[in-house]
């Protein structure tokens, strides 16, 4: 009983972020994207010539961007955990299954 009512109350409470917050997040996303693109100019940012630095930074930025989109734009931050669970089930499953597949093909050398 209490669970449901609580849940109900919770949802009523959950105010979505204001437009201003969205714009802030979008700005961050834009900045990170710019940083991503910067890696392309290896001759300018020479440390990106080191492959592991390049890959780590690219993947970090990519995951960060994805995380922001999912959490803020798709409201997973406010929404019920069940959504998070079912979505990340798919994400994780896909990631592991395909990484194993790529390993089997020696894609990572």
């Amino acid at each position: 009983m209490s669970e449901t009512t609580e849940a109900a109350v919770e949802t009523h409470d959950d105010h979505h972020p204001s437009d201003w917050e969205y714009i802030k997040v979008a700005t961050i996303l834009a900045v990170v994207t710019a940083a991503e693109v910067a890696t392309y100019f290896e001759s300018v940012f020479t440390f990106f010539e080191t492959r592991w630095i390049l890959l780590t930074s690219l993947f970090t930025m990519m995951i960060f961007k994805g995380w922001l989109v999912v959490r803020v734009f798709m409201h997973l931050k406010q929404d019920k955990p069940v959504l998070q669970q079912s979505f990340f089930a798919g994400v994780l499953l896909a990631t592991t299954v395909y990484i194993v597949t790529l390993l089997a093909f020696n894609v990572f050398g």
Partner: protein, 668 residues
């Protein structure tokens, strides 16, 4: 645009003139065939799935008998190599995609809403869509016999490059690819639909961990489907693009790797085998307790092992590729992963035995089939374990030893279990029992035929008989057991025909026999608390669930000393099924229309792109009509604010009754 569907509308007697896109009047329930083609009732849809799947069982079985007839004697010329290759491919495809999966879907559709106390599934129209799309895909697939130059001839897993246009120039493989894409859409839609139903539509108090084991297994199955189908979708599309648009995915000359197909296929294919078996595991988890007079032993272990099987099933696909050259490390890793699936599966087997242990075993037909499932599956599972030893599998793979394994698990585990379900729920669905005496004959004939057919295949396989060969020479020692297997398959075929006879006779005799009443087996789950056959609205009142096996506890009480006393007869405790004014979702023609568009697109891809345009217009038009079709039949206005969602539990109930359902948060 399915996603903005509202699953709600009302039937009422009145005609009205709303015509989306100016065609097809909104169908009304009137008892004619139109009821069936426009229905959105999960029960009718379930029955249609069942009937259609049974039909394809006969088709697939006929193909099996042709295979067996050809193999009865060495050097037989009954079927040519070409025809034989088409037959065994279509046998595998038909049995798996057109029989077992939809037959399980029949149970899922019919029973999930009843077992969780809902009036329908979450999206009734999408449910109808799933069925019609599946059926159109199934028919499409089989029309390749007539218009495609024969069936697909590449084996059910259709390895590239043999499936490429160079090596399989007829259209069979195109039909295979497109047909499975279409049925895949159906299964994906229905998986999402049924998963949402389980998560969202439960009666008050029906927490996830009060759901019957069957519903649980079906839920796991839906997740497996939802995640596995996209993978084969991609594989099939790549194959289709290669064949139709000359892309280079599987052309070794261009540098492509045939292993890509194998990985994609088996990433889908292995979860698929658990998609086949889990519904059957669920069914016997309902049947065995009822006929042992005991609750299921270790409910939570049962549920968690089912979930564990679902998870582990994703990490073992390459055990089908031990000899394909994936490298020793991969082979080793997948071999190890595969072995340990025996553990959760073993838990299930032992829990069923423990359920029977000390129980009062009544060997009704359903129980016989359920026990047959447990034993035959164990044999098949154990031979599965011997395949998982990668070094040993290099001797076994692609021999009849594998054929023996998978028929023991699929037929012995899956199909026998589904038949247990047929006998068990028949009275609930049709309002009369299947004759028990004939049922038992059916069971024994099937069991003996089954073992005679597939038992010898263990021997044949270990003696080195390859699978997928249309002929074998004498002198390898294959003659005797092949003949036995063929005789066995005829017995099996006879048992299937005898089952159909039982269906016919039991229906004919039914009027002269006492009605079975709501709860003929003294069973435990909610569907037995309503009349047989199930009334159109399922529940007069949505029950409020207070425990696992709630229905049983409405009949019995367990005293402090552990003894059981009856507190109510089933008839008294059951609902009467006489409620009036319950609003049900409105029927619609659009799912059917939409479904007809898809095979047209398929034919178009193969024969003439203009047909694609026609199919595309039909599909697109149907989607728009669907969206425009008022969600609620306009008559709904007459009833005031009756636009509550069908089935499930409007929050009013939750609020008033207070035995609140659960939230996912609470459980994780």
């Amino acid at each position: 645009m399915a996603i903005i569907e509202e699953p709600l509308a009302l039937t009422s007697g009145e005609q009205h003139a709303e015509r989306p896109l100016g065609v097809l009047t909104r169908p009304q329930a009137n008892g004619s065939w139109k009821d069936w083609v426009s229905t959105v009732d999960h029960k009718k849809i379930g029955i249609m799935y069942g009937v259609a799947a049974m039909f394809f069982f006969l088709v697939g079985g006929l193909e099996a008998l042709l295979i067996r007839t050809q193999l009865a004697f060495p050097e037989s010329g009954f079927l040519s190599a070409d025809v034989y290759n088409q037959i065994f491919t279509m046998h595998g495809v038909t049995m798996i995609f057109l029989f077992v999966m939809p037959f399980a879907a029949a149970f899922a559709n019919y029973l999930i809403p009843l077992q969780i106390g809902a009036r329908d599934v979450a999206f009734p129209r999408l449910n109808a869509l799933s069925f019609w799309v599946w059926l159109s895909g199934a028919i499409f697939l089989n029309t390749s016999w007539i218009v495609g130059g024969g069936g697909a001839d590449c084996g059910w897993f259709c390895y590239s490059p043999n499936s490429g246009i160079t090596f399989s120039p007829t259209n069979g493989v195109d039909f295979y690819a497109i047909g499975l894409l279409i049925t895949g859409i159906a299964s994906l839609v229905s998986a999402v639909n049924l998963a949402v139903t389980c998560l969202n539509m439960r009666a008050p108090g029906m927490s996830l961990f009060r759901m019957p084991v069957l519903t649980w297994m079906l839920l796991v199955t839906q997740f497996l489907l939802a995640f596995a189908l996209p993978v084969i979708t991609v594989a099939l599309l790549l194959l289709l693009f290669d064949r139709q648009f000359d892309s280079q995915f599987f052309d070794p000359e261009a540098g492509a790797d045939p292993l890509l197909w194998q990985h994609l296929f088996w990433i889908f294919g292995h979860p698929e085998v658990y998609i086949i078996i889990l519904p059957s595991f669920g069914i016997i988890s309902e049947v065995i307790p009822a006929f042992s007079r005991k609750p299921i032993f270790g409910y939570s272990f049962m549920v968690f092992s089912g979930i564990a099987i679902g998870f582990m099933g994703w990490g073992v696909w390459a055990h089908h590729m031990f000899v394909s050259g994936i490298g020793p490390i991969s082979v080793f890793a997948f071999s190890m992963a595969t072995m340990f699936i025996a553990v959760p599966t073993g838990v299930k087997i032992l829990n069923w035995l423990a359920t029977m242990w000390g129980g009062k075993l009544n060997f009704s037909t359903a129980m016989l089939f359920a026990v047959g499932t447990v034993t035959m599956f164990t044999i098949g599972g154990l031979s599965g374990v011997t395949h998982s030893l990668a070094p040993a599998d290099t001797q076994q793979t692609d021999t009849y030893y594998i054929v023996a394994h998978f028929h023991y698990v699929i037929f012995g585990g899956g199909v026998l279990g589904l038949f247990a379900g047929v006998y068990f729920w028949w009275p609930k669905v049709f309002g009369h029992l299947l004759d028990e005496r004939r049922g038992k004959i059916h069971f024994w004939a099937m069991l003996i035929g089954f073992n005679l057919t597939f038992g010898p295949m263990h021997v044949l396989g270990l003696q080195g008989m390859s699978r997928r060969i249309n002929t074998y020479s004498s002198g390898f020692g294959f003659e005797f057991w092949n003949l036995v297997a063929t005789i066995g398959s005829y017995i099996l075929g006879a048992s299937v025909l005898y089952f159909l006879w039982n269906v016919y006779k039991s229906k004919k005799d039914a009027p002269n026999l006492p009605a079975p009443g709501p709860d003929p087996w003294d069973a435990r789950s909610l569907e037995w608390s309503i009349p047989s056959p199930t009334p159109e609205h399922n529940f007069d009142e949505i029950p409020v669930i207070e425990s696992q096996d709630d229905w049983w506890f409405r009949k019995y009480n367990i005293e402090d000393d552990g003894s059981v006393v009856r507190i109510s007869s089933a008839e008294d405790a059951a609902q009467k099924g006489d409620a009036v004014g319950v609003h049900l979702p409105s029927p619609s023609f659009w799912p059917l229309v939409l479904a007809i568009g898809l095979p047209l697109i398929g034919y178009g891809l193969i024969f003439n792109l203009w047909l694609c345009v026609v199919g595309g217009l039909l599909t697109g038009g149907a989607i728009y009509a669907w969206v425009l079709e008022p969600v609620d039949d306009p008559d709904a206005g007459a009833h005031g604010h009756d636009d509550h969602r069908d089935g499930g539990d409007p929050d009013g109930e939750l609020a008033t009754v207070g035995a609140a359902g659960d939230d996912m948060e609470g459980e994780d």
